[in-house]
Symmetry: C2
Subunit: 228 residues, 2 copies
DNA sequence: TTTGGCAATCTGGTCCAACCAGATTTCAGC
DNA sequence: GCTGAAATCTGGTTGGACCAGATTGCCAAA
């Protein structure tokens, strides 16, 4: 099949070929043949999938999909593989993102270093130039939000939050296809930056909160609208 | 060596045998011999470790420890393996836990079902009996806190938070060795439960906040005190 | 027809022996 | 001491093999 990143592809395949009734997926040997790789290769990938609690391997029985996978890693993986995401879980992940980032804005406004501000300025500059050139925003949005989390100086926090953005990877270009959305988002980013630079924790938090309403609304519309 | 849960043992071994200068660990073949398992076994485990960003495998070169591993999964894994935890990262993880659980208390007080309350009552009952019998609390604490997160009805949130508790697994018996601490903790749990049952989100949140101050203080003391 | 039980088959778990090609190390020759 | 080529080491990948329990299918008995 492909050659790299067997992980998302295998995950995708498992979810398109498992037995609806039992939850059982094709055997290791079948998977190996399907992907034209060795069984060891498959087992290595399955070990990761199992560690992510996406899959359960039962000795001498088979490989079974976890009844209801619910971790941001899993969601990110599925998104990367182009798999349809469970609307409920997207909603849950977005809620968690809100929890994280609103708090991050507060903490960052208190702890951000000049280095953080420099990077944020750089990111905002890039956004500005792209918008001026009529290009859609893309990774600038992710960079901005992640830099704020980084500015909390909490590396564990940062790692955890990083996972979300793989999830939105395929959605961002769609989200920013509308130029108005890009402009509005950028304007809000500027406001947040100012509030943080003034070390106004409450304002930063409030602005981030309203900013994320937009994102939440987008995903919500996506969910209630059509699924696929 | 052992026979099950190679993951934590391997992680532990890597961290006690890597080359300080280069960060390089023993080769797969050496590891296989050390643990008396096959190379495939080692590779499977290393794949998970790599997915966790604890380790980096460079083709034809070697296995290297990530410069600074910072994810709750990694911390939990280290704790499980009895590895010394980086004080800074413990502190970061505890901060993240506070962020999560205070918000969880708020959401749970609004969304908890009767089933959640039943389970909480059951947990509190168990705590009560253990304290009455003069036994130290243990998993009851974890169960209580996790049930609150579950009561947010956000399964992704729940999964993410579950990771913490593996981290404290070895610490809890020490923490509750002092009977007074157990009693105080239980009393606070009761207060939190009441607030949640009255659907008082603000109070729940506030009580959880002060409750977690204690935990934070404990870890902080542990950090500033001695490290090992 | 239904049921019970046994045997063939399948499955994950584990191990071993190879080969590849690039990275690393070793060491002879200058 | 330095250089460069050869020996060695390393992860990546494959194939085959064996084990023992789980699963399945089939046939005979009720």
């Amino acid at each position: 099949m492909s050659e790299k990143n067997l992980l998302p592809e295998l995950a995708a395949f498992l979810y398109t070929s498992f037995n609806e009734a039992s939850g059982r997926t094709p055997s290791e040997r079948e998977l190996a043949e399907h992907f034209s790789v060795s069984r060891g290769q498959i087992r290595e990938t399955l070990a990761i999938l199992e560690a992510m609690q996406i899959v359960e391997r039962r000795a001498k029985s088979g490989i079974f999909l976890t009844t209801r996978t619910a971790s941001v890693e899993a969601l990110a993986l599925f998104a990367k593989a182009g798999l349809p995401l469970d609307p409920v879980q997207i909603y849950e992940a977005v809620e968690l993102r809100k929890i994280h980032e609103i708090k991050a804005a507060e903490l960052a406004s208190l702890r951000a270093t000049e280095e953080n501000f420099d990077r944020l300025r750089d990111i905002l500059g890039r956004s500005e130039r792209r918008l001026a050139a009529g290009e859609p925003l893309a990774e600038e949005d992710r960079d901005f939000h992640l830099e704020i989390v980084r500015a909390t100086q909490n590396t564990v926090f940062f790692r955890v939050c990083s996972v979300y953005y793989a999830m939105g990877e395929r959605r961002l270009p769609i989200y920013f296809a509308d130029p108005e959305r890009g402009k509005r988002s950028h304007a809000e980013h500027l406001q947040i930056f100012d509030a943080m630079h003034k070390r106004d924790a409450n304002l930063s938090q409030a602005l981030m909160s309203t900013h994320l309403q937009g994102v939440e609304g987008y995903w919500k519309g996506l969910i209630t609208g059509h699924k696929s």
